[in-house]
Symmetry: C2
Subunit: 397 residues, 2 copies
């Protein structure tokens, strides 16, 4: 069987490496080997073993009837979308790790794949190497999925873990993460929660079977989390995690990306460092969690190649995915009832006028009061905090 790789960056070169190192075991599982015939990349790779495979024009791959499957590891929506669409229309299966592409164009590419009797798979787009999409679609099929909540961004989880362990502040930890290669030079997509938002949009689309637009999901990043917040977390015996969460409410879901204070009893509270985990609650299953390397060259490439094996085992057909293009109207996030950890510089009298009697947590900074509210809706909380001077707030998970 012949494959092509579009984009020879970190993940793309990882795919090449996995196919090479595990060639024999993959051949045993598929029944025949998977060879890379083309690599699409604009850079020069002179004197490297892949040099003879390099092509500049994606149409060359689409036109070659020998190519059965194509890997897309370019990132971004365009030109990835045009390239992938062309491959599917040319009757080639596609596996991708590109969450931006899947969140934006997943439903459309699934439809095109179906129409051309090929598959469009994207296990690596959420949770890197952790199998989560296929287990969700093919194993947890006896359950109504009532909640799916993930730590799906390794960069921010590494930062939260370091801030918690060492008391360092945000800017220092970000620089350290950049120096170690755990954060990009432009870390916006990670620390503002945009990356996590696309991933929970994909997961929610899959459990709902309908398009969930990531633009509809309220998204807060971790830029507001300080070393002082971490001190309060310790007093509360909780850890602060950036969660991407989706809960069933009636016939739809309410989704959010935000930092949460998780109790030690929550399985996600102990997911540290660059690891990712996706927690699932089913109405019959109860709690389950998938844990592992959510990013990185080889773990992510492992998931892409796992998709290639699944494609190779089902070469003559479309592997159906239930993700219809009509957008799902998400539930109102303002109606979600939660408790909130609050830091305020207002006088106690004003705080208690607004929130009623509160149990103060020992202040970790001069001139502020800290407490946890009773359960209330986001809307109610917003109204109350408008009346006080809010330093920061974090939702209680």
């Amino acid at each position: 069987m012949k494959a092509a790789i579009m984009g020879f960056g970190t993940i793309g070169s990882g795919v090449y490496e996995v196919l090479k190192v595990n060639r024999r075991v993959i051949e045993r599982r598929v029944g025949s080997p998977i060879d890379v015939k083309y690599i699409l990349d604009l850079r020069e790779f002179e004197d490297q073993e892949i040099a003879p495979l390099i092509v500049r024009d994606y149409k060359e791959i689409a036109a070659d009837p020998e190519v059965d499957m194509v890997v897309e590891t370019m990132g971004g929506v365009e030109p990835a979308f045009t390239f992938v669409k062309t491959m599917l229309e040319a009757g080639k299966h596609v596996a991708t790790s590109n969450k931006a592409l899947v969140a934006d164009k997943g439903a459309e590419l699934i439809r095109i794949a179906r129409e051309h009797s090929v598959s469009f798979l994207f296990e690596a787009s959420v949770g890197g190497g952790i199998p989560v999409i296929r287990p969700l679609l093919e194993c947890l099929t006896a359950d109504v999925i009532e909640e799916i909540t993930g730590i799906v961004n390794g960069t921010t989880n590494y930062m939260m873990t370091e801030m918690s362990a060492n008391g360092t502040d945000f800017d220092e930890v970000l620089k350290e993460a950049q120096d170690k290669g755990f954060a990009e030079q432009d870390p916006t997509a990670d620390i503002e929660g945009y990356d996590a938002c696309r991933k929970i949009a994909i997961l929610t689309s899959l459990i709902a079977g309908r398009q969930v637009d990531y633009q509809d999901i309220p998204t807060e990043g971790i830029r507001g989390i300080s070393a002082t917040d971490m001190k309060y977390a310790k007093i509360l015996k909780r850890s602060i995690k950036l969660l991407a969460t989706s809960r069933k409410v009636g016939d739809t879901y309410v989704a959010r990306v935000a930092p949460y204070l998780l109790p030690a009893s929550h399985p996600l509270s102990k997911v540290d460092g660059v690891f990712n985990a996706i927690f699932v609650h089913g109405n019959m299953l109860g709690d389950g969690m998938f844990y592992g390397s959510g990013a990185g060259k080889l773990p992510t490439a492992s998931a892409v190649v796992g998709d290639l094996v699944e494609i190779a085992r089902n070469l003559d057909k479309n592997l159906p995915i239930d993700w219809e293009p009509e957008a799902l109207a998400l539930g109102d996030p303002q109606e979600t009832v939660e408790r909130f950890f609050v830091r305020s510089s207002s006088a106690m009298s004003l705080i208690e006028d607004t929130f009623g009697p509160v149990n103060l947590i020992e202040a970790q900074k001069d001139g502020e009061h800290a407490f946890v509210t009773e359960p209330m809706s986001e809307k109610e909380f917003a109204a109350k905090t408008a009346a006080i001077d809010l330093i920061s707030m974090i939702r209680m998970g």
Copy 2:
């Protein structure tokens, strides 16, 4: 589609309940509903809604061409084997939660299913509701699985967790677990590790693609673990867990069931109470873990019904599983190199003559010395401990 349930105990009645409560969502996923036409059980169920479904003779189910799929939740090898074999030979798919049956007869039933173009699935036989078998076989296909280690017995994990949290001793915790229904009146299969042994035999068979006889796996239970051991574990900042583990060594695997002292950094160290988790290390993936309810009526039934959905989506064919009947010669467990935590009543001079200089851990009981050895093989350790008075030993994970 018509199903039958053989054995209406805890899991069997759970399967009925899952099919009933989630009927609508299952119908949507399959394309048509799954109805239970027969329940095989020898007891009386007068006045209950299932009474009209009860049959006494399994041959009645086998003879009904309307029945597409059969659930086996009777437990034990016989008569379950005879009944399941008959169903497969009659062209009916089978899903089971019965680890004793799968460990003993899995390869044979997979062959019979293949010959009759039906499927034999058993996701619920390991890890209860946690999807692990299908993710292993269908997702982690790009990897060489170098290690699979599970906390796969909820009873013993509950007991270890309680002993660690409350300092209670073995017999007291066992009684408490029995009172709460977490341990059976005859707890032998759980506390001696026999249950965990069958589960790691199944997992090892699946990753090796060959029969692994559970009788070949050295198995120690938790009966030797005391409140004093838990005190030492705390000093070592470790937790004691009953692990079922299998590691790739050359072209085969070395398997063992035994209590281990796990460092806090190991993902399995934080799996507490009745929860189960299966840790996997792939040569490309790195570390991954599947976590959730490893037992209980509804979680286990959820996994059985998940298999029924997969069967219903593939009604006209055999879902292949690579598990050949020729027995795999496991690696020699005496060659495994580990460190060992040791408690001995021998004099220090004898201990140091035998093990060389040791760093003593503060004794938690009079008249004993405690220490951790250097890495050595099981064989070497056995030879050394023959020379001293051993109170107890636990392997370091």
